[in-house]
């Protein structure tokens, strides 16, 4: 069977229970939001193929159960992931504090060069906010990780986040390829479709903070 994509990236969503990992994924894969989501038990994944600078990039995004107790199982799925979204809930202080623990968890279980990004989700719920955007930015600086506040409900910055992470992975990958091969080696032989609606990542830059 011919491939319909140029790259396959395995991404992972992690973070405390109830921060909105599944909602973010649902927003990105189905462009929808459901207030009455069920909690994730075990592990699941969704697929979306995006167009990135003329390349078809298939994103396989893994969604995990958040509760600490299940980590021994969920960390088994860290292996091979190329990008990780660390998600916290801006209305939940504890979930923000735990980002540090999640980073440690990544260091222990994922490959060292995995691309990371921190997402402060539920930024539409301003009245309930416990974690300011500045604190999120500060944490990101501390760990040298990109950061953006998102709202799966209002479809804010979710696309941007995945595109950014995917682009970073692609850049890293191509850099590695160039290092090992002379440039121009890829012919794009697997590319079959090119008519997917072009999304415009640049338009999001104005309403998010990227470090």
């Amino acid at each position: 069977m011919a491939k319909t994509y140029d790259y396959l990236f395995k991404l992972l969503l992690i973070g405390d229970s109830g921060v909105g990992k599944t909602s973010i994924l649902f927003r990105f894969s189905e462009d929808a939001f459901n207030i009455s989501f069920i909690s994730t038990i075990g592990i699941d994944f969704k697929i979306r193929t995006i167009d990135l600078d003329g390349k078809k990039v298939k994103l396989q995004i893994w969604d995990t159960a958040g509760q600490e107790r299940f980590r021994t199982i969920t960390t088994a799925y860290y292996r091979g992931s190329m990008g990780i979204m660390l998600v916290y809930d801006v209305t939940n202080e504890k979930s923000f504090e735990n980002i540090k623990n999640w980073i440690r968890n990544i260091e222990e279980n994922a490959s060292a060069d995995v691309e990371k990004m921190i997402l402060g989700n539920k930024c539409d719920l301003d009245a309930k906010r416990q974690v300011s955007k500045e604190r999120g930015e500060q944490l990101a600086v501390e760990y040298q990780i990109k950061f953006v506040e998102t709202s799966a409900k209002d479809s804010l910055n979710v696309e941007f986040a995945f595109y950014t992470l995917a682009r970073d992975i692609k850049a890293k990958m191509e850099k590695k390829q160039e290092a090992s091969n002379p440039p121009g080696g890829r012919t794009g032989a697997h590319q079959l479709r090119a008519n997917e609606q072009q999304r415009k990542p640049t338009s999001w830059l104005s309403r998010c903070s990227v470090l």
Binding site: S17, G42, F45, F70
Partner: protein, 650 residues
């Protein structure tokens, strides 16, 4: 070493053991073109009584269509196989025959297992491995076990995988005895199979149980028993089973892979199709209670529920017994008192957290964490069901109150994701907060290990599931292992919340009440997993699903499963396994039945009514009309079908 003298092959000889899918990797004196061809490795008894190990390339093997069912072609133990060597011998055929490798057992000096038990090497001369075979299906474990039945071996000191033949051509005592016993009973003319067929229509379940283990043995030990001339009596069947079981300890060969614990066993008996029954009705339920309200036929009730579930109208009452809230033997009056006490206990625990002030809470992080988890999950539990749908639904408050009270009941365990899934159907059915709480406590008792802090209970179940699947469906287990899915993590959700996410509320009630009976063995929920996987086997294998596709496929089965069909299949698989002559201790432990090692020596039975069954279902042979079949596990005699139950079923 006489490897290839074609003319020596007798036209008719007996295959004592055959193993398909064995690759010839190396053979001294053979041309390279002979290597890497697939064939069958056998232990053959020649017409003169001598034995040899024989490897036949696949293109030589012809299937005798009328006697060989594919299912049974893998191992046709002791069955007599006509070899179709006579007649039109083409040159190809002759060439293939020339490729047969024969290693007489009285010349065999040493043999060795390696490469995760998948490779076997033989030597008839010290220091030279003349032949090397690779087992594509499973591994050499079973072959070694059978071989050791025919040659006396000792393990070498420096390498526990190398066996030195001490005294060639000596059969194990136990097997000899078995065959001797078998001959004694040749004159018995009862046709077990015919009885099975004729009784099946009238009494399907009982008949199946009664005859199944016998049928197993007949099929397993060759078709002599099938022609109506001979019955393998239960004593013989038992003896044979034991002689096979005695091999168990010799089959344990090095295990390098954590999940490669059980290895492929040759055959399982055919799977009986056991129909589901009708649900326990109001009349039957009332008929099983005495005037004071005590349940008189506890085992009977359990069996009826196992067979058909509970009629919806009486679930509210019956579930309280199944979930150990109401003791079976209590009178109505006693239950009233109990309920009063339990209600008080519930509200006192509820008051404990209800009376917590904001200040207290702010200084009590462990409590706060638990409360936060509960709130998050309650808000996303079954919200599409009308009972829990909509904003400010009061039933969500009840869910929350029960879970918070449970936090106080078992603070150390606290709240773990999945608990709200377990609770929701209980509240939906029972309606009452206090009853629901205590039934939830009872359910949690049954699945407490699912929520261990270190997830040890879940991991153990996943390992057990893998072992069970390997025994029941080795081909699928092998496929999963080859796709990096041998840890069975893709079944995590099934096990954690007992399939709650896979079925509708209506179906989950049926499944759970059946599982709560604890019948027919421990860990029957694992058989549910095996049944589902078995029904997906063809898809998973034929489409060559990999790691991600397996997970996706399994996750997508949610709400597409037929609960009655799965229960029926699971029970069928249970009977296949429990009747398997090669039932290993590992599986026995999962099923909660005595292991071979712990089994008391057979001795004259003091009570003729009770037979030592060790999991095999038997009737007392002295009383053919007796309508009671007993199954023993955990030292308990469990009555499978009593007269009372059959009267009620009718």
């Amino acid at each position: 070493m006489s490897c290839s003298s074609v003319e020596d092959i007798p036209e008719q000889c007996k295959d004592l053991f055959t193993q398909d899918g064995v690759l010839l990797k190396a053979s001294i004196g053979r041309s390279i073109s002979d290597l890497n061809s697939i064939g069958m490795l056998c232990i053959v008894q020649n017409s003169d009584g001598t034995k040899c190990i024989e490897w036949r390339p696949n293109d030589l093997i012809t299937i005798d269509s009328d006697t060989q069912d594919q299912e049974w072609a893998v191992v046709n133990t002791i069955g007599r196989r006509q070899r179709t060597l006579s007649g039109n011998m083409t040159s190809d055929y002759a060439a293939a025959r020339a490729r047969i490798i024969r290693i007489p057992l009285d010349e065999l000096k040493t043999f060795k297992c390696s490469r995760n038990n998948q490779q076997m090497q033989f030597s008839t001369k010290q220091g030279v491995w003349q032949n090397t075979f690779y087992f594509q299906h499973g591994n050499a474990e079973i072959f070694v076990a059978y071989l050791k039945n025919h040659v006396k071996t000792a393990k070498t000191r420096h390498d526990r995988n190398t066996y030195v033949v001490v005294e060639p051509n000596i059969e194990s005592q136990v097997l000899n005895r078995s065959f001797a016993e078998l001959d004694i009973f040749t004159e018995n003319t009862t046709d077990v199979v015919w009885n099975l067929v004729s009784n099946f229509k009238q009494r399907p379940y009982e008949t199946t149980l009664e005859a199944f283990s016998k049928l197993t043995d007949i099929v397993y030990y060759g078709n002599e028993g099938m022609n109506g001339k001979r019955d393998v009596s239960e004593e013989v069947a038992e003896l044979l089973t034991k002689s096979m079981s005695a091999l168990e300890d010799t089959t344990t060969v090095t295990r390098t892979d954590e999940y490669e614990v059980i290895n492929v066993k040759p055959t399982l008996p055919p799977r009986p199709c056991i129909p589901r029954g009708t649900p326990l009705s109001t009349e039957k339920w009332e008929g099983l209670q005495d005037p004071e309200g005590r349940v008189t036929e506890i085992d009977g009730v359990r069996q009826l529920i196992f067979r058909g579930g509970v009629a919806h109208s009486i679930r509210n009452s019956v579930w309280k017994y199944l979930l150990d809230y109401h003791p079976w033997r209590m009178t109505d009056a006693e239950i009233k008192i109990l309920q009063k006490r339990k209600t008080e206990e519930y509200f006192s625990m509820k008051l404990q957290w209800r009376s917590m002030t904001d200040g207290q809470e702010s200084r009590f992080s462990e409590y706060r964490d638990r409360k936060s988890l509960v709130e998050k999950d309650v808000n996303r539990t079954d919200r599409t069901h009308p009972f829990f749908a909509g904003d400010n639904n009061p039933n969500l408050m009840v869910l929350q109150d029960i879970l918070m009270t449970y936090v106080m009941y078992n603070f150390d365990l606290g709240y773990v994701q999945g608990m709200s899934d377990i609770l929701a159907p209980l509240l939906l059915l029972l309606g009452n907060e206090v009853d629901t709480f205590w039934c939830f406590v009872g359910f949690m008792e049954k699945i407490a290990s699912n929520f261990d802090m270190d997830q040890a209970g879940m991991k153990q179940q996943l390992v057990n599931l893998q072992q069970l699947l390997t025994f029941a469906s080795p081909e699928l287990a092998k496929h999963l292992a080859s796709k990096d899915s041998g840890n069975m993590y893709f079944c995590f959700r099934w096990l954690l919340v007992w399939f709650k996410r896979e079925f509708s509320h209506r179906d989950i009630m049926r499944l759970w009440e059946v599982l709560w009976t604890g019948l027919p063995c421990a860990n029957f929920h694992l058989f549910i997993c095996v049944a589902i996987l078995d029904s997906e086997k063809d898809v998973l294998i034929s489409k060559d699903y990999g790691f991600t596709e397996i997970l996706k496929h399994v996750n997508d089965l949610s709400m597409c499963l037929d609960v009655d069909r799965i229960l029926s299949t699971a029970e069928g698989i249970y009977h296949q396994i429990i009747s398997a002559p090669h039932l290993s201790d590992q599986i026995r432990i999962i099923l909660g039945i005595p292991t071979v090692g712990s089994r008391p020596e057979p001795e004259p039975e003091p009570e003729p009514q009770t037979s030592q069954t060790n999991g095999n279902v038997e009737t007392d042979p002295g009383q053919t009309d007796m309508e009671e079949v007993t199954l023993e596990y955990n030292g308990l005699q469990i009555s499978i079908v009593t007269k009372t139950v059959w009267a009620l079923l009718a």
